[in-house]
Symmetry: C2
Subunit: 384 residues, 2 copies
């Protein structure tokens, strides 16, 4: 089975854009092809993550649309798994190469700021169970607030622990030119911020962002034949699902989809959580970073809440988490997020990230949809 | 590379349902698993086509939702390619088996009737280019009317030729218990019907339907080891894209995406159009059947318009087209359509369809999104 290499990456600035998704994806896609030195005519498929184009732009069927915008003439498929849309797109691309393709582009885009905060919140809510959650008033800030409250109740910790996660991720975003929020904050800032859904405040939540990301994936044979510089390999790609509605889960503080996907990824890559040098996890809210770290087996249950406060996940810590700034500060243009994690992780592993750990060789990307009802996990490694 | 078998199929009645997509898909998915005699725990992935759940039900993220409803605990991904959504889902499932899986479920569902005719027409329009088509008033009846007018101008033919296609597909639907429109019509009925978008009348258009479809795909190894009855194999799966907007195409009457996907499928299966015994093509409008037959190489350019009138594509003709009733009369619950074609074609090849040609051994399914901007083609053959 072909080993899969990251041949090139592209990303737009994340933030507020007065541009369509087709335009945003064109920028990211063209940048990725240019970075890869791969001609557009070699691309055999595009997998494109987008979440709510129908609501944001009245534009569905974006697969062919964004392919054309990025100069690609190939089968193009839109994949939607809520906030894990482009994580799922990356996985489809990996699978396409395992099934015989040599070159695929994966990525995603989202336009959200034009919907306004209320419109975007309503749009995001379509990732929850409309019949049993949304109609009862559960939007995502509310759902994650429930999860945070349950966590504090079961395991201890509190808003100050979450504030340390926000401070860390904002600090990381300071050196990410593409980040939406390049703004240093303090624990006091976070604790003093307006409440969004108690116990979560403004700085516990990611912003509403527009943006796009793209990655060129190639088989190792293609990389070799074309003499590409592609030092980072994707050595595992996994996905899992869970009940969409929180009330159908056994626990509000465990995320089985993360656990199942992580276990499968570790097995495929032949590694364990202790082998990781840097990771990007899905921190749509600060509490989500905690749940992710525990679901991934990086921390025991109840232990991740203090990780940032103790400095273990900061840029100088044992395992830097979300060196990109995470969704929290890099921003979260939903359909772009999963592939953006691959873009950022590649930079951390190929040595071009200013704060990458010395000799980082193994990274992991964790992308989650809804209240962790869809999860993709990718393991990236510096190839031998 | 594994040969892929259709192990089981399931489909709901197509028509107006006061039921959610999750409920519709549960019926189809459970029926397919039952038909396949495959336990739910063996299913490694679900690929699910849905087009406008966000607009119809304010429900995105349907992958995990419908997996749960159908009793599946596996990675589940929603694929959207407008009216080719579940054709694309079938292709992802085929690819998953080529990449190493043994059992996947593919399918789709759509709920549309609750949107009303105007709402559904607006929803469907999100498959066109919002900036350059929809804002100029182009909905799909309008777009296909432009294509029909251009065809008549370039190649001759007229509404009466299209009427014969409608009559044929309505006739075929009479023996399809799942069809939305089980109603015999005459050429005069079609010609006398109200105009929808000149030159297309009411009987040139498919109805707005709700429904779901599902197919269990397995590797031949799995079929053999588990002693499954799975006589029909998928021997080719291809996909192509085109410019989303009609005005970007070189011709209004040619469909390069169909041509490219067909050529790839014929090559993969080692067959040509003359080898086909029965086919299901994407006849969202009668003119679309004409364009499909020419794009697939079954007819030369300008020749397919008279095929139904000449009796060549009727159930007793040389190559029966849309024995299921087609989208025209079976109905077109958008996300369900592509996989429904596989359901129907399987029945035509395994001998359970009452009007299947004697000794039919090779079939083809053609699913198109937008004005043929996304196309999937699948070749099904009775395995040796």
């Amino acid at each position: 089975m072909a080993e899969i290499r990251v041949a090139g990456t592209g990303i737009t600035d994340f933030g507020e854009h007065d541009r369509t998704t087709r335009d945003l994806f064109a920028e990211a896609g063209l940048a990725a092809l240019d970075d890869a030195s791969v001609p557009a005519e070699d691309v055999e498929a595009l997998y494109y993550g987008n979440f709510i184009g129908e609501l944001a732009e009245r534009q569905g069927h974006q697969g062919p649309l964004v392919a054309e915008a990025a100069g690609l003439d190939c089968p193009s498929t839109r994949v939607e798994s809520a906030c894990a849309s482009s994580g799922a797109a990356v996985r489809e691309g990996v699978q396409a190469i395992h099934a015989g393709a040599d070159v695929v582009v994966v990525g995603g885009a989202e336009r959200m700021s034009n919907m306004g905060t209320e419109g975007a919140t309503e749009g995001l809510a379509t990732a929850a169970d409309d019949l049993h959650e949304v109609r009862a008033g559960v939007t995502f800030p509310g759902a994650y607030a429930l999860m945070a409250s349950a966590y504090f109740h079961q395991h201890g910790g509190g808003p100050e622990d979450l504030a340390h996660i926000a401070v860390k991720n904002h600090d990381n975003a300071l050196v990410n030119d593409h980040a939406h929020l390049q703004q240093e904050i303090t624990v006091a800032d976070a604790l003093d911020a307006p409440q969004v859904a108690s116990p979560l405040g403004l700085y516990d939540a990611c912003p509403i962002s527009d943006g796009a990301s793209a990655v060129v994936l190639v088989s190792d044979d293609y990389a070799e034949e074309n003499d590409l510089s592609a030092p980072v390999a994707i050595t595992a790609s996994s996905q899992a699902s869970d009940h969409l509605a929180l009330h159908d889960r056994e626990s509000l503080t465990e995320t089985p989809a993360t656990e199942v996907a992580a276990e499968a990824a570790y097995q495929e890559a032949g590694i364990g959580p202790n082998d990781l040098d840097c990771i990007e996890v899905h921190d749509c809210f600060t509490i989500a970073e905690v749940l992710a770290l525990e679901g991934l087996g990086v921390y025991e249950t109840g232990e991740a809440i203090g990780a940032a406060r103790r400095g273990e996940t900061t840029r100088d810590g044992e395992l830097p988490v979300n060196l990109s700034g995470g969704l929290k500060a890099k921003g979260h243009p939903v359909g772009a997020t999963g592939a953006a994690q691959i873009v950022e992780l590649t930079r951390q592993l190929d040595g071009t990230h200013p704060r990458a750990p010395d000799d980082a060789s193994v990274g992991l990307a964790h992308n989650a949809g809804g209240t962790v009802a869809s999860v993709t996990v990718h393991v990236l490694e510096v190839a031998e």
